[in-house]
């Protein structure tokens, strides 16, 4: 197995008496699409915050691409290639879709202490940004202020912004949040096209999507990873079925067994 690109060792986050992240050790190999699932309140958001650098862990380390990044803030991590998208759409609403993406390109190109040249006519920013918009099927909407895009389009833009930074690892925080069925399906097929080209850590609620996309799945319950493995292994894991899929699923499985 190749050297893991992202690795956490015994990550712990406490809020007072509450343990939101409980000795989480994850490891992602380059090129894989790894999904994290878990019921509400399992600590997914807290985990993402620690991986992206918005929140400092109480204990444990995070390594990325051969470097300890535990103490680095979010922008530094992003420049190393660990880039996230947000569960709740986070765009610059007054900027056009193109501006939003160009901003990410600009960030990739290094510091922005350039004071004179007009950024909107700078081919170094605009060309790559247009390419990414084409990739996510938003080219036609490039000049529309992002705040006026539909919810689905905004979710696409959210991913496009992350892609434009040419990340080594994409941290997708519930990219399908709030989407309709059809939109979700489109997003799934889009993510399919990203698979293998990027290493992806997908945090998602939508089970169908996860099982359709993921190479490996980790299950987070009460801040603990209770299982990691291939989709089928995870699906079959009784502990997962009990803790995550709940009694209902167990009953269903039991009923299935009875019927058989």
């Amino acid at each position: 197995m190749a050297e893991p690109i992202l690795q956490t060792t015994d990550l712990v986050k406490r809020f007072g008496g509450l343990v939101a992240t409980d000795h989480v050790s994850l490891s992602l190999v380059p090129g894989e699409l790894h999904a994290i699932i878990g019921p509400n309140g399992a600590g997914k958001t807290t985990l993402v915050a620690q991986l992206s650098g918005e929140m400092a862990p109480t204990a444990g380390r995070v390594r990325f691409d051969g470097q300890d990044i535990t103490d680095l803030p979010m922008p530094r991590r992003a420049r190393l290639g660990l880039v996230r998208s947000f569960q709740i759409t986070s765009i610059c609403p007054e900027f056009s879709a193109l501006d939003n993406v160009a901003m990410a390109v600009q960030a990739r190109l290094g510091h922005s202490f350039h004071f004179w040249r007009n950024a909107r006519t700078d081919p170094a920013l605009i060309m790559p940004a247009r390419r990414v918009l084409e990739q996510v099927d938003l080219a036609a909407r490039a000049d529309v202020p992002a705040g006026l895009l539909s919810h689905g389009e905004q979710r696409q833009l959210e991913v496009a912004i992350a892609l434009a930074t040419e990340p080594k690892l994409l941290l997708l925080d519930e990219p399908m949040a709030g989407m309709g069925r059809e939109e979700s399906q489109r997003m799934v097929s889009f993510l399919q096209t990203l698979k293998r080209r990027y290493t992806i850590l997908l945090i998602e609620h939508d089970m169908d999507a996860v099982f359709a996309l993921a190479d490996r799945i980790s299950v987070l319950v009460y801040g603990k990873v209770i299982a990691t493995g291939l989709p089928d292994e995870v699906r079959a894991n009784p502990e997962v079925q009990h803790a995550y899929l709940g009694d209902e699923a167990e009953e269903a499985a039991a009923a299935e067994a009875a019927n058989a």
Partner: protein, 330 residues
């Protein structure tokens, strides 16, 4: 917002050109009306307008609510005034630096002082965001205010009177019309510079900071250095405005850097239109002319202006400039 960018730009461009054209015609108009006072009034409008424009850079584009901007305006003014003072009696500033009335020395020094102060104050203030930023800028501005109001050598509360305007080679700015066109040129240059800045990569980051700071951090832009840089740049342009104001009055006083002056500057920016650069100049014109016109009918002009300001804030955020071009570039 739905207008095509080209049409939109030309409309903005047209309005901006019109503003400058009107400003260029004020001196002949004043001559025609036999009203030299008009020239002086519009020098003040341009100088205050430039100060408001520089505030717009951080307020309108960067979303940084600074309530201490007048401090940077005043600091530059005081630098010019203090150098003039020492030139007058041949003494040394702090026993070290000789005074001068030469604009080529005094003015860069004044801008440097404003930028340096902005850097120091900004270093502390940009650490915090939002409310604390607002209160810190206010408090530091008060510190500067009390510093000068207690500095006996430079007139403390009574202010410091200059011997005359600074001396420029080739141009005699002690003449009001000359000085008017000089201010006009400075305003135009500063406007062009600031317009370039807000359109640049730096400007895009600055606007991004206002809209969604977290988003920028997530793509790898550490926002604080940019906020700080913007604060310093705005301080520098405020310094330019301060130089013009000090030369306009040939007098500087703590009143120039009081918090109410900062409040006036914010009012001008919002009145004219946030994030439009030229809008604040319109705002300054509106503010000062309203005060003059209403003030000539009643001394209680603030009774009208206070509620007017509130109404503009609540219902007409695009300001005067927005009223002219109907829309706002993003």
């Amino acid at each position: 917002m739905s207008e095509k960018p080209s049409a939109f730009l030309s409309r903005r461009g047209g309005a901006t050109t019109l503003c400058f054209a009107v400003l260029a015609l004020i001196p002949p108009l004043a001559g025609w009306l036999h009203e030299p006072f008009l020239i002086r009034q519009f020098i003040q409008i341009m100088a205050m307008g430039l100060a408001a424009m520089s505030l717009d850079l951080i307020l309108g584009y960067g979303g940084l609510v600074s309530f201490g901007h007048a401090a940077f305006v005043g600091l530059a003014g005081y630098t010019v005034g203090i150098l003039d003072f020492h030139a007058g009696d041949g003494s040394l500033f702090l026993g070290l630096i000789p005074g001068t009335t030469n604009a080529l020395i005094a003015w860069p020094a004044a801008i440097a002082v404003s930028m340096l102060a902005a850097a120091l104050i900004g270093l502390v203030c940009t650490q915090a965001g939002g409310t604390v930023f607002f209160m810190l800028t206010l408090a530091f501005a008060q510190m500067v205010y009390y510093g000068f109001s207690g500095w006996t050598l430079y007139g403390s509360d009574e202010g410091l009177s200059m011997g005359g305007r600074s001396e420029l080679p080739l141009l005699d700015i002690s003449d009001n019309t000359n000085f008017y066109y000089f201010c006009f040129a400075v305003l135009l240059l500063c406007f062009l510079a600031m317009r370039a800045i807000v359109g640049s990569r730096f400007g895009m980051v600055l606007r991004g900071v206002r809209q969604n700071e977290r988003r920028l951090a997530a793509v790898g832009v550490p926002t604080r250095p940019y906020r700080l840089a913007a604060f310093v740049i705005a301080g520098g342009f405020a310094g330019v405005a301060g130089i013009l104001l000090a030369n306009y009055q040939t007098f500087v006083s703590p009143g120039d850097l009081s918090w109410t002056r900062s409040g006036e500057l914010i009012s001008m920016v919002v009145l004219g239109g946030l994030g439009s650069l030229i809008g604040p100049v319109l705002g300054a014109a509106a503010y000062l002319l309203l005060r003059l016109v209403i003030g000539s009918y009643t001394t209680h002009w603030a009774v009208v202006f206070g509620p007017f300001l509130i109404l503009v804030v609540l219902f007409a955020r695009a300001g005067l400039f927005g009223f002219v071009v109907r829309g706002r570039e993003v």
